[in-house]
Symmetry: D2
């Protein structure tokens, strides 16, 4: 009974079906009919014209999306615990040619106007210090916290005032959108941001994330950067197929709702133990070593989170019986 991560979960049957349907000759790279449908599909979803490109990983999607926003001598502001800072093996340094990450604080791995200001105000406007050009937010955050539309707007106000273009790392955007219950556009401030990395791999996909550019001119640059980074697959139709399958009939939302519901079921059993409110599909839960051992002895797998806690992650396909069993086991501790 696996609660380690959603990043290796099974592939949704609809995704498999779409991939197999795509197994006919078509133009290579992103010249195929499926890739050609992405702009339209995301424009419909977000209610505004946008350009969308696929990439195989979240790291690539984040860093390629940031590339046209930041010159090599510039910087991106992000949370100290953002994935781009902590878990991408230095990919921003590579894709942005040595541009800097400026790290800001914030509870629940969420930035606020005040923490942004605290990070940015000390930077002198002279050539001896690296100047910020972009802001990268994570929706949902590394601790499974969602930014409300109001919070996003407040951060975009700061970004505007300081001349920063905004990128949203949406590796778990689906979970955040499902939690917020607002429109996808509201869930990422689509009218205010430059680019969204929209994750599908953790949500039923196999190997496709989308970079959505609300300023379509950016996509023209990223097409070159994607090829240059070795991310332009010749059978790109199989990536487009995955994304379209998950967008169709709002399967992406349905999957995210399932993962979120499983997380809420566990959260209910963790009352008093939660390190962070549960607003997506991740739980950070206080457990003693003995408690963790007891759970593992019952067949539940999960990662430790520091000394006295664990991280539990649900997925689109978390088995209801497993979830219920874990909830019971926690309640019984």
């Amino acid at each position: 009974m696996q609660f380690l991560s959603d990043n290796a979960a099974r592939v949704h049957p609809a995704v498999w079906a779409a991939m197999q349907a795509a197994d006919a000759p078509d133009t290579p790279y992103d010249g195929d009919a499926l890739s050609a449908r992405l702009d339209q599909a995301f424009s419909a979803l977000f209610g505004r014209p946008c350009a969308a490109l696929w990439a195989a990983t979240g790291t690539a999607a984040n860093c390629l999306a940031l590339a046209p926003l930041v010159p090599p001598h510039g910087a991106v502001v992000c949370h100290r615990e953002a994935h781009i800072e902590i878990d991408e093996g230095g990919a921003p340094g590579f894709f942005l040619h040595g541009a800097k990450l400026i790290l800001a604080e914030g509870e629940g791995a969420k930035l606020t106007p005040a923490t942004l200001a605290a990070a940015l105000d000390p930077i002198r406007r002279d050539v001896h210090q690296v100047q910020p050009q972009a802001l990268s937010l994570t929706q949902a955050s590394e601790y499974g916290r969602a930014y409300s539309p109001g919070e996003l707007a407040a951060l975009c106000d700061v970004a505007d005032a300081r001349g920063l273009r905004v990128h949203v790392d949406g590796a778990r955007f689906a979970n955040a959108a499902a939690h917020l219950g607002c429109s996808p556009a509201e869930a990422c401030a689509a009218d205010r941001i430059a680019a969204l990395s929209f994750g599908f791999v953790k949500n039923g996909g196999m190997s496709a994330e989308a970079m959505v550019f609300f300023d379509p001119v950016l996509a023209d640059v990223v097409r070159y950067r994607r090829k240059r980074a070795g991310h332009l697959q010749s059978k790109g139709r199989f990536l487009a197929a995955q994304i379209l399958a998950l967008l169709e009939g709002d399967l992406w939302l349905e999957n995210a709702r399932a993962a979120n519901a499983a997380a809420q079921e566990l959260a209910a059993a963790c009352a008093g133990r939660l390190l962070h409110p549960v607003e997506a599909n991740e739980l950070f839960v206080r457990f003693s070593a003995a408690e963790r051992a007891a759970l593992r002895a019952q067949g539940f797998t999960f990662y430790d989170w520091g000394e006295g806690a664990a991280r539990l992650v649900t997925a689109w396909n978390s088995a209801p019986a497993d979830v219920a069993a874990l909830a019971r086991a926690i309640a019984a501790l």
Copy 2:
């Protein structure tokens, strides 16, 4: 009847089957059981210990394999028409941090000791000129020409004498090996080279190439570089599955033989028209504009090759009837 390229061909049923069999929870990234089998599988194939990593594209496989061979202030010697120079969107400049490509000549896009020397001899050994550290060969070459084991040995001798480590771009290595009829190790001088980019996408795969390091220490560096380049997929088991399916029972060779045989069938019809001997699955054929129009009118698709020629590419799944039809149509011109 498609003879445009092998790079968008269908995925082999055995590959599909292996991918679907891999759709069970496992450790993410390359910690899964299938990825763990790659070193052993390639070591068996090449008869010597090697370390193998997957990547989704040939561009990534080439550039990541070159990365540990060349410092940013160094250079790679390759043919003037090599894929890394011509068709990778500047990826070597990106992955190698501005290292240079030194371009050498050679008939059929094949290097020779003499053309290598002609490119390297003029380089002064001083800091004003970029010094070569690696040699990249393409097997089969951009014109579908195969290096014989003897030719490879002669080039490796030059490389040794000049302190260059050798990389083989094997996007169509299978086709070259099938043509040569020697062992896979002989087909890439496995005992002499540092790394081979072993292509599967053009040969029945979907999205997996292998980087094979005959000096396994190199793989340790590339594991970091791969993550940093956003090429470490979280569901890497699906890439490993593709590769293993094609290695198993020598399906990779069988597929390549089929493509090569189709190419030979066409070659027989092109007597007197061929720009290059056919030693893999590509044909470069002299056709007048009228002849090309005539073939296209009969439903054959292919790319022009300059003014008076065309490129025909066969694939593992070129339909025998289509091949025969094209051969007849050419003969009838």
Copy 3:
């Protein structure tokens, strides 16, 4: 009697005097009173508003000036024998983050609209090939050839038509301008180009070159790039002093005229031996091995130029007696 190069020649007394006059406390970096005068001095020289920054070397001046013209995924077109390609140790790859140099041909290391077209026309407008964004010309060229204003205009027309911004490598701009006899603005097409690297080190300076930006916005970017490249000296006043000393009273032109006159004196003695017309301060002269030995035996130093030739370089301070002696020695061969 030294005719090896102008790049290690003595420093002009006026430059020494200006440097010593600058040895009083002032604001560090480029905040000093002398650096502040550069924009005005070059604007007056070129008859149009420009922004000028110092850098210690020609390589830095070239590559920093190119930096804002070319994104990392782009390319610069230049002559196959341009200094940035041949003699800067791969600096463009470093400063431009792996951007590519596209090499064009041309007699005397000079580009023409036709050779530019020959280099650029084959580039497909797709993501697989690196797209050019800038053109770099060398005035005077590597073979001491000067572009006439008309030739510059024709090349700028091509650049405009293809969307390329133009940089001029003017390591020996003074010699070209002195030869042409036109205004400095005409000698570099100041009304058409983005940036000029204006050399002083070879012409009486010690360690200061100027980057002149005819689009002053570019200078704002380069100020950051210069610091990031470690080229912002804290006692920058000593670099500004050198440049101002050479601009004042047109000492730069006077020095260049002296070097050119010496070159012409030698050229007259080399009738029938010259590989290139002499339009600056370099001569490429056919000499047999015996002739070179004979000259060296008389105390003249110079570099061989391939098998049957030598390169003679005069400088601002070539001693008239030495020049006359060499001319006599050549005539007597």
Copy 4:
């Protein structure tokens, strides 16, 4: 009466004299007789074989010295307030191709084994996190604090245990060595470290710093990297001359002692106001806004340091009368 910084101070007369003596033709770049003497001069100073290269700025000296110690996918550990992190305009990101700076804490901008461990221990040894390869210390630190030989040894022990090569940023190494009173080798743990950036510009020089490599093989790489970064000056003899002039007769130590003595004279007047012990030539002093205004009204110039403090910097040529006047003025506050 200037106490703003030592970085724009006058050039020592002996340095001027040496530069003028160098104004005769010699081999360009670093092929001249003076540059050739550097290895020997520093080997004598440090009592062990080392290779030394000049560079014009401290930023270049730091980043070029670090370059051979850290691959692009690696990291350097340094203090959160180190110059390379705070004041070099992102130069490490440029010279190290996106390698990361891992920031550690420590009082007085000095690292300790414990703060190093606190920064390094959380880094997982997997490809998702950037792995450290080098440690950069600053002697004297950004707050004018000197590491004792014992402290250096303890940090080198940590570095050894973790496989980190050590670089010392010695922009004010002279001041630290003068303060410590030990041998130059002891002042930088010459027997334990890979490279020292030895500053001269703040200590009587004009435009020359030295990179001293205790592993001479590193210098061979840096020679290429220096050229590639545009830092190889053609009249390099003028940089070597500055360094040799300051090394000769221990002028570097004499100058540093003068600056340190001036700082101690001020420190004595600042009893109870000092934010940091004074161990070099910088003082960080608590002054109210009114006090700062009062001092400035008397003609003293210096930078504010945050809200309630100021930074005073003495230099090799701080006028004794000015120093005494400032000491009196402070005492009289």
